[in-house]
């Protein structure tokens, strides 16, 4: 069976939706339901993989609906979107496997609703990845917020509701107030919203308008968790761990930085932005976010909250790098989207595995746990190295390119920020690893023996850890894509 | 202009009407206001005769001064005469009225003067009614022919308005309406609706 690329595009997007419907129908039979989730995620991965193998620099596009006259909902594939789709669909397979183990072991309620919404969130993420114009991106960006809201509030407790309100409040209000405004403004200035290399604004748009648009986009796309609009991300940590792992380490937050890179490269245009005075505000804010979030992470006692602040800081790497506006720095931003994704999901998987097996969520309780859960904590250690940016992990590759970009742009402050944050990252990740492997088990822990988490969970986190290592040794494909985005081939 | 210009008559009637309206505004007795309203209608009917609108005068006298007053009195037999009360928001009312009145009078300044036969109002459609209607409908009274034929549809609408009002009155106070009144009052207390 051979499908034309545009059909593949459509099928990759439709499969998760079909999965969601089937999961909802098959709810009462949980083995069938979970089998559907796994098979569906594999099928989606298959479609994306076929797209990746068949894709050859040609623009593939498919119109879904004539949304407004002159503006369509359209999918089209370019390297950055392909990269994002590959990451999302790969990690969906792994996190589905992980989630089945996690949800069953913790006897979570409303599992059917959970898996159905999970699949819908992936559909929205792929919609973002494939979007052929800004309007389509916006539509799926909003859909993703709405679909993930019930996942964040899954627990249904007052605390979860409060967190949910913060989540929805910040994401929706920034997107409506800034992102939407910027989009309509862009349409008004440019007459189109298509993604075109080098941007779509024409000569008549002055530098001040461009700057305002740039700022509206950067802060309107609050999924990047740029300060001061970062509070939704720690709030979202009340969700079950698989949600945090896939959505708040990969899909949702990466949708944010993905959109930022898209806007910079395909809407505003790197070269045009480079000529606009004042754009340096954003890297400054991003740099501040990197340092501030790292400092906050240092003080966290709860493992998931620590990971959330680490995510905030890592996302700002992408924003910082992208807004330095040189080809190398754009490349670094793109690479970091991928590299951070695999490592961060591993960390969340590990945190969830610890919670499932040992019922521990505080860092202080992890003494000696590495001896009981060697696979889990081993994977954690690999991912932590990647966060710091040490070889032989994926994080080293992207951080290296980002640093090179900063040198290229002669942004010495950025270099300083990067160095300082590496130190800070080490300061909050290494003690955890040290604690897990080199401290004796506490007396209380010795009284409650436990082993590894359920097999599906361990399998998933081991695979992602291997990916983290693998991307260090074989970064070629990712590099090629990043280069294509940055240089405009 | 002479002292015996017939225009003086309508000036006088209008002045009378103003006095009546003023008294109604001041009066606290509802009954007396209704009676004066009838007189106001009668005065306007007289004015309409002078202004050549005999059909309107006849209708206004019978409907405005007659039926209307009867309807008021009928309703008031069911509504006890309430105690006198001061005015509410007199300042706001006065401001609104002065503003609207000033706007209206401003609006008249560019109007053709009263009775001007060259005003556009008399030259366009009206002229054609006067010249064509006899031939088309065979009725010498142009008001009747326009009412019944050219704008007969308005008359259908007018009948519908009366019909609507009749049904509305019937649904509100028709038949054993008092049952319907007590029921909601009780329901009100039961649900404790605030």
């Amino acid at each position: 069976m051979t499908l034309a690329p545009d059909q593949l595009l459509l099928w990759a997007f439709l499969t998760p939706i079909i999965v969601a419907v089937l999961v909802a129908v098959a709810g009462p039979w949980r083995n069938l339901r979970d089998a559907i989730s796994v098979l569906g995620s594999l099928a989606t991965f298959g479609f994306v993989a076929m797209l990746a193998s068949e894709w050859e620099d040609k623009l593939v596009s498919r119109t879904i609906a004539d949304f407004l006259p002159g503006l369509t909902l359209r999918f089209s594939l370019e390297p950055l979107g392909l990269l994002f789709a590959v990451i999302a669909s790969t990690l969906w397979v792994l996190s589905t496997i992980y989630a089945i183990g996690y949800m069953r072991a913790n006897e979570e309620h409303d599992q059917t609703r959970f898996f159905a919404l999970f699949a819908l969130a992936i559909a929205a993420t792929l919609g973002i990845a494939f979007s052929g114009n800004l309007l389509t991106l916006f539509v799926f960006y909003e859909t993703l917020t709405l679909v993930t809201f019930p996942l964040v509030t899954h627990a249904g407790t007052p605390e979860a509701m409060r967190a949910g309100r913060t989540y929805l409040g910040i994401l929706l209000s920034t997107s409506i107030l800034f992102f939407f405004l910027a989009m309509v403004w862009t349409y008004f200035e440019a007459g189109t919203l298509d993604f075109i290399k080098g941007g779509i604004l024409n000569e008549e748009t002055g530098p001040s308008v461009t700057l305002v648009l740039f700022l509206l986009y950067m802060f309107g796309i609050a999924k990047t968790a740029l300060m001061p609009f970062h509070r939704w991300l720690p709030a979202a940590m009340v969700a079950p761990t698989p949600v945090s792992a896939l959505l708040h380490a990969v899909a949702v937050v990466k949708a944010g930085v993905f959109a930022v890179v898209k806007v910079i490269v395909y809407v505003l245009g790197v070269e045009r932005l480079a000529g606009v005075p004042g754009t340096a505000i954003v890297p400054v804010v991003a740099g501040f976010t990197i340092i501030a979030a790292s400092l906050v992470a240092l003080k966290q006692a709860n493992l998931k909250r620590l990971l959330a602040y680490s995510t905030i800081s890592q996302l700002s790497y992408v924003v910082l790098s992208a807004t330095l506006l040189t080809p190398i720095s754009i490349m670094g931003a793109v690479l970091h989207i991928a590299m951070h994704a695999v490592a961060k999901i591993t960390l969340f998987f590990a945190a969830g595995a610890v919670y499932t097996a040992a019922h521990k969520s505080e860092i202080g309780e992890l003494d000696g746990i590495g001896r009981r859960m060697p696979w889990t904590m081993g994977a954690f250690a690999v991912a932590a190295l990647s966060m710091i940016g040490l070889p032989p992990t994926a994080g080293f590759v992207s951080k290296w390119v980002i640093l090179k970009g900063a040198f290229d742009a002669t942004a010495w402050c950025a270099v300083a920020v990067l160095v300082l944050s590496t130190v800070l990252n080490a300061a909050y990740f290494l003690p955890i690893v040290h604690r897990a492997f080199f401290r004796p088990l506490s007396a209380e822990a010795q009284a409650h023996p436990h082993g590894e988490a359920p097999f599906p969970s361990v399998l998933a986190l081991t695979l992602t850890a291997l990916l983290t290592l693998g991307l260090f040794f074989f970064p070629g494909e990712a590099m090629k894509i990043a280069e294509a985005v940055a240089t405009g081939r | 202009m002479t002292l015996f210009d017939p225009a003086w008559i309508d000036v006088a009637i209008l002045a009378f009407m103003a006095i009546v309206a003023f008294v109604v505004a001041l009066l606290r007795s509802v009954f007396a206001s209704v009676m004066l309203m009838g007189i106001f209608s009668l005065l306007s009917a007289t004015l309409f005769v002078i202004l050549d609108a005999v059909d309107v005068a006849f209708t206004e006298a019978s409907v405005g001064a007659g039926i209307s007053v009867v309807v008021f009195l009928g309703a008031m037999s069911l509504i006890p005469s309430p105690k006198a009360h001061g005015r509410t928001r007199p300042l706001l009312g006065a401001l609104v009225c002065i503003a609207c009145g000033a706007l209206l009078i401003l609006g008249t300044l560019d109007m053709p003067t009263y009775g001007d036969p060259q005003a556009p109002i008399h030259l366009h459609v009206a002229d054609r009614y006067l010249s064509e209607s006899l031939e088309a409908t065979d009725v010498p009274n142009v008001v009747t022919s326009v009412l019944a034929s050219y704008r007969g549809y308005d008359t259908l609408g007018e009948t519908t308005v009366i019909f609507t009002a009749a049904i509305a009155v019937l649904i509100l106070i028709g038949g054993s309406w008092r049952d319907g009144v007590k029921a909601p009052a009780r329901a009100d207390k039961e649900t404790g609706d605030a």
Binding site: - | F40, A53, G64, P80, V96, L104, Y114, S133, P140, R151
Partner: protein, 117 residues
């Protein structure tokens, strides 16, 4: 400007505003309807004044006359009079029900009662 100029219109407008003033300020809900009637009748006066042609007669065609007043406003006002009485009747029916439900037709008293419940 020849007498009476715009005098007819002006008085009609003053009458309208007096009616409107009663509607806005009188707390008695029956009296408000009286005000409404005065307002409407004044509008009728305004329309019929517009129809008048100097030296004209009632628009009943006859060989003896050549100048007639404008028949169209008469037609309109005939309709408007009927609409007016329909509105009045409906308003009074409502007031009968309000009297039965609240025991008063005083606006302020009813407002107080509504706040209570």
């Amino acid at each position: 400007m020849e007498f009476p100029g715009l005098y007819n219109y002006w008085i009609a407008m003053v009458l309208m505003m007096m009616g409107l003033y009663i509607v806005i300020t009188d707390p008695n809900m029956v009296k408000k309807i009286v005000g409404l009637s005065i307002f409407q009748v004044s509008v009728f006066v305004f329309y019929i004044s517009m129809a008048k042609v100097r030296g004209g007669t009632a628009p009943i065609l006859d060989d003896r006359f050549t100048v007639y007043s404008n028949p169209l406003p008469h037609v309109l006002i005939l309709t408007a009079i009927v609409v007016g009485i329909a509105t009045t009747a409906l308003a009074l029916a409502l007031l009968v029900r309000i009297q039965a439900a609240f025991g008063t037709v005083d606006e302020e008293a009813i407002k107080a009662l509504e706040r209570e419940t």
